[in-house]
C-alpha cells in the first residue's frame, strides 16, 4: 500500500504524472521534465520531499551519539543552526545511508534521512542509540518542500512576517532556523541556492500554493534527478550502498578520520585506505551523440567499470554520468551502449551549478 504526502491533491491539480518511489506515490513530472529542470537553474522550482524522514535526536548525549554514529564529525557543528552532510556506515565501512544533521542546541540535533531506507535506518539508529542517554523521535507529521533556484529564497521570504523574513534572509548556506511553524534550511539537492522548508502537514498546501502564486514551478522527481546529477550529488541506492565505502564513492571529503574519534566503520576505512582504494566514482561526459544510463559497461586502460547514474543533461545538452572505475584510470574511457564503444571524457563533478556549466567540464 503506497503512502501519500499531504500535497497529493496539489500534485494532481497541477497535472502531475505520479509514480511509486520507495513506497510513496510521488510526482515524476508535471508535463515536461526538461522545462522543470531549466526553471530551477534559471528561476525557481519546488519539490515535495515530504517522503523524507525527519528524526530528532534529543538528550544530554546527543552530540556524543552522533559523533559515534556518523562518518563526518559533528564537532564541526559549533553554531546553532549549522548543518553537516555525512554518511552513516556499517562496521564494514559500507554506506547505510547519507543524511544531513542540523545542530539546533546542545540537547537537540535533527537528522534527515532518505525515504527508501526508512525502515533500515530507523532500526539501525535505534539499535546504536541504546548505549546513549538520548531520545530518538521520528517526525512523520512534518511535510517538507524544497524551493530551489536563483529566485527561490526571495519567493519563500515574501511569505514570512517581516521580522522572520529579515532573519531568514541572513541564513548562510548549510544553515537553518525555526521561524514560527516553519523550519527553514538553506540546503538542497539541485546545485542551486534555495531553501528546504519543513512544516506541520496541515500547513503544507497553504505554503505550496503561496509559492505557486509567487511563480515557483512545481517540479517532479525526474527533474530532481537530472539536477542532482549535474550538481555532482550521489543518489543513495544507485551511486552508493552497503557494498561500497565513501572512499569509493567520491565522498572521502565527508569522512573525518584523522583524529582519535571512534565512529562506526572507521577501522574498516583505515584498513581500506592503507591497502589502497581500488575504485573511484567519477563523472563522465559522452563525446558523441547518445544517452548514458545506469548500469552501462565502461572500458578503461586500467580495467572495466560501470555507470551508476546517467542521463541527458539539459544544461550541457550532452549525456553525463557517474561511473565507478579503477582508481588508476584517467582522462578518457569508453562506454558500451548497445554493443558500440563510444568515447567519454572523465571529469570531476559537479557538471553544472548556479545556472551554468562548471569550468573544465566541456
Amino acid at each position: 500500500m503506497s503512502q501519500r504526502t499531504p500535497l497529493f491533491n496539489e500534485h494532481v491539480a497541477a497535472g502531475a504524472r505520479m509514480v511509486d518511489f520507495g513506497g510513496w506515490e510521488m510526482p515524476i513530472n508535471y508535463g515536461s521534465q526538461i522545462e522543470e529542470h531549466h526553471k530551477v537553474r534559471q528561476a525557481a522550482g519546488m519539490f515535495d520531499v515530504s517522503h523524507m524522514t525527519v528524526v530528532d535526536i534529543k538528550g544530554p548525549q546527543a552530540r556524543i551519539f552522533l559523533s559515534y554514529l556518523l562518518a563526518n564529525d559533528v564537532a564541526k557543528l559549533q553554531t546553532p543552526g549549522r548543518a553537516l552532510y555525512s554518511c552513516m556506515l556499517n562496521e564494514q565501512g559500507g554506506i547505510l545511508d547519507d543524511l544531513i544533521t542540523y545542530y539546533l542546541d546542545e540537547l537537540f540535533f535533527r537528522v534527515v534521512v532518505n525515504a527508501a531506507t526508512h525502515d533500515k535506518d530507523m532500526a539501525w539508529i535505534t539499535e546504536q542509540a541504546r548505549a546513549f542517554d538520548i531520545e530518538v523521535t521520528e517526525r512523520p507529521e512534518l511535510a517538507m518542500i524544497a524551493v530551489q533556484g536563483p529566485a527561490a529564497r526571495q519567493a519563500v521570504l515574501e511569505q514570512l512576517p517581516d521580522g522572520d523574513a529579515r532573519s531568514a534572509a541572513e541564513l548562510k548556506p548549510f544553515s537553518a532556523g525555526q521561524f514560527g511553524d516553519l523550519f527553514i534550511a538553506r540546503t538542497g539537492y539541485t546545485g542551486e541556492d534555495g531553501f528546504e522548508v519543513s512544516m506541520p502537514a496541515q500547513a503544507a498546501s497553504g505554503f505550496w500554493n503561496q509559492c505557486l502564486a509567487a511563480g515557483v514551478a512545481p517540479c517532479g522527481l525526474g527533474a530532481r534527478d537530472t539536477l542532482r546529477l549535474e550538481a555532482g550529488m550521489n543518489l543513495y541506492g544507485q551511486d552508493m550502498d552497503e557494498t561500497v565505502t565513501p572512499l569509493e564513492s567520491a565522498l572521502g571529503w565527508t569522512v573525518a578520520m584523522k583524529d582519535e574519534r571512534a565512529f562506526v566503520g572507521k577501522d574498516a576505512l583505515l584498513k581500506q585506505k592503507a591497502g589502497g582504494v581500488e575504485s573511484k566514482l567519477v563523472g563522465l561526459v559522452l563525446q558523441g551523440r547518445g544517452v548514458l544510463r545506469p548500469g552501462q559497461r565502461i572500458v578503461t586502460d586500467a580495467g572495466e567499470g560501470v555507470t551508476t547514474s546517467g542521463s541527458f543533461s539539459p544544461t550541457l545538452q550532452k549525456a553525463i554520468a557517474f561511473a565507478r572505475i579503477p582508481s588508476e584510470a584517467v582522462q578518457s574511457c569508453q562506454v558500451d551502449i548497445r554493443g558500440k564503444l563510444l568515447d567519454c571524457s572523465i571529469v570531476r563533478p559537479p557538471f553544472a551549478r548556479d545556472g551554468a556549466v562548471c569550468e573544465g567540464i566541456v
Partner: protein, 128 residues
C-alpha cells in the same frame, strides 16, 4: 486522452504506420508513446538501405527518463529517414504524427499491413 488519428494503422507496441501514395510505409511513435516516454532527447534510426523485419527491434528512442526499443511494424528496406530528428528529437513530442515521423520503408509484403490495428482497435488497447 491521447490523440489517435483515424487514417493511420497501429501496433501493440505503440508505433503508427501510414502508407504514402507511392506505396511506401511511413513509421512513427504514437501520441500515447511520446507522452509516456516524456521529453525525447535522442533517436537512433536505421540507415537508408537497411533491411528491417516485422516485430524486430529496429530503432531506439530515448527520453530523459529511459531508452525504448522501436519494433518494426512492417518488413522492408529503409528508403528515407527523418534527419531533422538528429538536431531536434523533441519534435516527436510536439508533433508525433507529422513532423515527428521516423523513417520510410519500401514494403516487402503489403499483406503485413492487414495484421495492424485500426484507430478504434488501438484506442481499445489503450483503454485496457
Amino acid at each position: 486522452m491521447s490523440n489517435i488519428p483515424s487514417h493511420l494503422n497501429y501496433t501493440e507496441s505503440h508505433e503508427w504506420v501510414s502508407v504514402d501514395d507511392d506505396g511506401n510505409a511511413r513509421i512513427g511513435i504514437t501520441d500515447h508513446a511520446q507522452e509516456a516516454l516524456g521529453d525525447l532527447v535522442y533517436v537512433e534510426l536505421p540507415a537508408v538501405g537497411d533491411e528491417i523485419s516485422q516485430s524486430d527491434p529496429c530503432a531506439v528512442v530515448e527520453s530523459v527518463k529511459a531508452a525504448s526499443d522501436l519494433y518494426a511494424p512492417v518488413s522492408g528496406t529503409i528508403v528515407e529517414i527523418n534527419e531533422t530528428l538528429d538536431d531536434d528529437p523533441a519534435v516527436i513530442n510536439s508533433d508525433p504524427y507529422d513532423d515527428g515521423w521516423l523513417f520510410l520503408v519500401k514494403l516487402v509484403d503489403k499483406a503485413e499491413l492487414e495484421g495492424l490495428k485500426d484507430a478504434e482497435a488501438y484506442a481499445a488497447l489503450l483503454e485496457d
